[in-house]
Amino acid sequence: MSWTVPVLVGLPTVVGAVLLVVRRAPLRNTLVVVASVLVTAASVAAVAVLADRAGDGGAFFGLPGGMTPGYAVLAMDVVLAGTIIGFGVAHRRWFAPLLALAQLGIAGYLELGHHLPHLEADRLFWVDNLSLIMILVIGVVGPLICVHALGYMRDYHRANPMVRGRRTVFFCLLFVFLGAMFGLVITNDLPLMHVFWEVTTLCSFLLIGYTRTTETIGYAFRALNMNMIGGLGFSLAILILAGQRSGVDLARLTAEPVGGLLLAAVALLALAGLTKSAQMPFSDWLIGAMYAPTPTSALLHSSTMVKAGVFLLLRLSPAMTGSTVGTLVAGIGLLTFLFVSAVAITEQNAKKILAYSTIGSLGLVTGCAGVGTAQAVWVGAMIVIFHALAKGLLFLVVGTLENRLHTKDVEYFDTLLSRMPRVSALALVGIAGMFIAPFGVVVAKWAAIRAFLEVPGWTGAAFVVIMAFGSSLTIFYWGKLLIKILSMRAVDPVERALESRVTRFEWVTETTLAVGVVAVTALLAVLSDHVVSPYAAAAFPSGDAAAGVDPVVVGVTLLAVVFLPILAVSAWRRGGFDQADFYAGGRSTRPDHAMGAALGATRSVTLRGYYLDDVVDGALLFRAGSLVCGLALVAMAVVGWVVAA
């Protein structure tokens, strides 16, 4: 089993390095497809090997031959800090380099001063069911997105001739990132984990700045700055833990509720998790990150990287449960969910809507992690799985739409079912998976409410109230999008031909993900019994066994998930309707939805969804949410300080 780490981390990294020098597109296409298959195979194989030992608290192991990272960690820290400082100097941005220096200083102090915050060789890595879930998410969704990017980036550069093509770097970064993610989710040694953590931050930074315009560089640095704050928190946590008995052993730290200095360290790690998963007040960077090419958004900013944040929080959950820190983390997560769901109502850019929805879903997971019961983390892990598949799918579909329709404005996604029925069906699966399917948000909310009702004290009630309002808000913006997609009118052949130009790479990957969404929904009970429940039970041995999956729930939601797209497509094929029959105040109407208009003209029907401008001010709410969550963060700092002192 010790081979898994070098393979999982090494394979993608090597592929990435090779891709850096492959300049010819056909070769690159082949290489990426082959590498993707290999990565998926490796991850499946790893999971197969690890599966029987991962249950019940997980398995610990080290590198082949009992190697220890030693100074390699410090070397990596130097490289990372150097890169960041280099970019900072080049662009005259000083905040991130300062944070990088600070982190490097801490690492140097610990390593060179022989305070050696490292574990003995056989506890370097820790694999439990949560890690397995993450490995599968990274290993299945990640490569699919890489393949999708082949098609997307070709069209992207055709549509944006002004952007200098740097596809070698782009694909290199995607694969290096995958390697780092694998490393991150199986590491038990916190200093090592911190390295992987910072690699993902750097990848995100470079990918957001892909187009190298002033605007995107600004967003890239914003992401970097915020993630570096979290990174510094991570470093400080290591600094504290280095002097503690439990040391930098994540598994030992999170075995049971902690207090004192350990709780302060947990709070600092939670800060890292909150920044990475873009919880308020750090949500801003994820919205800016939407300026990156869409596969980046799909891979880093929804399916995997931001999951690292909630992964860490779920890891920390047993340690912070019942403490003020846990409650504050839960509060931040749920308030973030509430606020971004409201802000999403006012958003017209499809990618940003998906981004807000992502932050909201991550907020739910954060909330579950903060609450810290078996039932809650069970919900959290379920959301991670469903969100990765469904949101990955949705981002890819939006990427496809963006290249065909040349807009990300959802208002122009209307009558999609008539224009691009197959893409619509995929989008419907994604949306249904996102907010109808189990642990797509709607049912996750139900389970979360159930979990929160068990929380003692008024916070539980407050969480339930937040859930009630937040969940209704999600219905609004998803419903609005569904209306757009499901509407129909007669379209001309030119519009009909749009769909034929979607690349094979996109079809294959999107269809696979869609099948994945449906399959996971159908196999929910299996998933729960064999993967998620054991994880929750192991994380919270004292708590109740995780909520069983009600077969009624599965049946009902599966009905819904399958119902929508299948009905839509089958109906689309059926004749016997007159699209000129729509009601327009009695005026003459045409099948292409033109109608008699004022002054004797004829005009096409144009429709705009509601953005509730009168009631919801998106920018204001975003600031308010950031302020409230920022205050919660300050409270967390105070609590951390007090318990530490």
Partner: protein, 285 residues
């Protein structure tokens, strides 16, 4: 009664109850307006007729979605009555409502679209309450199913007076009664949206909408019974009183604008239902 029998009763008699209520409503409203009004069974004649008419389909998607609307609405009731999780049933209820929105929105026509968007606002306004209400009921009784709540020694309405008041407020929205009939109205078309949601539906499509609404009314009656869990007859009486109040309010107010609907429903939900739930924790249930 066994759950299976209860489910059967709901599926069969739910719409009958809903239809009779609608019929009685129309008569009472007519009397309030100085008219005689239609026969009691008029809603059934109407729906019967709708199923005898041809359909003019604007698009092929609407009808499956409408059937989904009915199925999920009935399913929500079945879940509640048949021992499903009460909170989960609320999400199914929202899903059912969403199907109607989608059926209207799929027409891609101005009136249907505005109606659909308004219905989304209506959902946004009313949905938090139903979730909170069920969460509070489950919390206060420590149960999660209909039979559990009914057998609980806790008197729900006594513990949750705030939620009960909020319920009276919010069902005005669900029953599509003035002042909250903003997305569509039931037997009163003189509205700026020309019935909005159902503008482009005809024949049996309209029949499905009506049928689903009857299920919804029946479900609301079940909710009232939940509040009066110690005595079902009292619950039914309370529902009749509540419905009467709704008819009275319907006839003595004008239609509110969507902004007010949203703001007031949220305020009422937050203060009355949320406050009630919070109070429960404070006094330590």
């Amino acid at each position: 009664m066994t759950p299976a029998l209860l489910v059967l009763v709901f599926v069969v008699l739910g719409p009958v109850l809903g239809g009779l209520l609608a019929g009685a409503d129309r008569i009472v409203s007519a009397r309030m307006q100085g008219r005689v009004g239609p026969p009691l069974l008029q809603p059934f004649y109407d729906v019967g007729k709708l199923f005898q008419k041809r359909v003019r389909r604007v698009n092929p998607v609407a009808e499956p979605l409408l059937i989904g609307h009915v199925v999920f609405m009935a399913l929500a009731g079945v879940l509640v009555i048949g021992g499903g999780d009460l909170i989960f049933a609320m999400f199914v209820l929202a899903l059912a409502a969403l199907f109607l929105v989608l059926a209207a929105g799929s027409a891609d026509s101005p009136y249907s679209n505005v109606g659909a968007e308004r219905e989304l606002v209506v959902l946004l306004a009313s949905e938090p309450f139903f979730i909170l209400m069920m969460a509070a009921i489950c919390k206060v009784t420590g149960e999660s199913t209909f039979s559990g709540v009914m057998d609980s020694p806790v008197r729900v309405a006594v513990e949750l007076p705030g939620a009960l008041l909020a319920f009276l407020f919010v069902i005005t929205i669900k029953l599509r009664k003035s002042p909250f009939d903003i997305s569509t109205t039931h037997h009163h078309p003189h509205q700026e949206l020309v019935r909005g949601l159902t503008s482009d539906l005809s024949g049996r499509q309209l029949g499905w909408v009506e049928l689903a609404h009857w299920y919804e009314c029946a479900l609301l009656a079940v909710f009232v019974v939940l509040f009066f869990n110690w005595s079902a007859p009292l619950g039914i009486l309370a529902f009749v009183v509540a419905y009467g109040l709704e008819v009275l309010v319907d006839n003595s107010t004008s239609r509110a604008k969507w902004q007010l609907v949203l703001r007031s429903a949220w305020a009422v939900t937050l203060v009355l239902a949320g406050g009630n739930l919070l109070a429960l924790y404070v006094v330590g249930v």
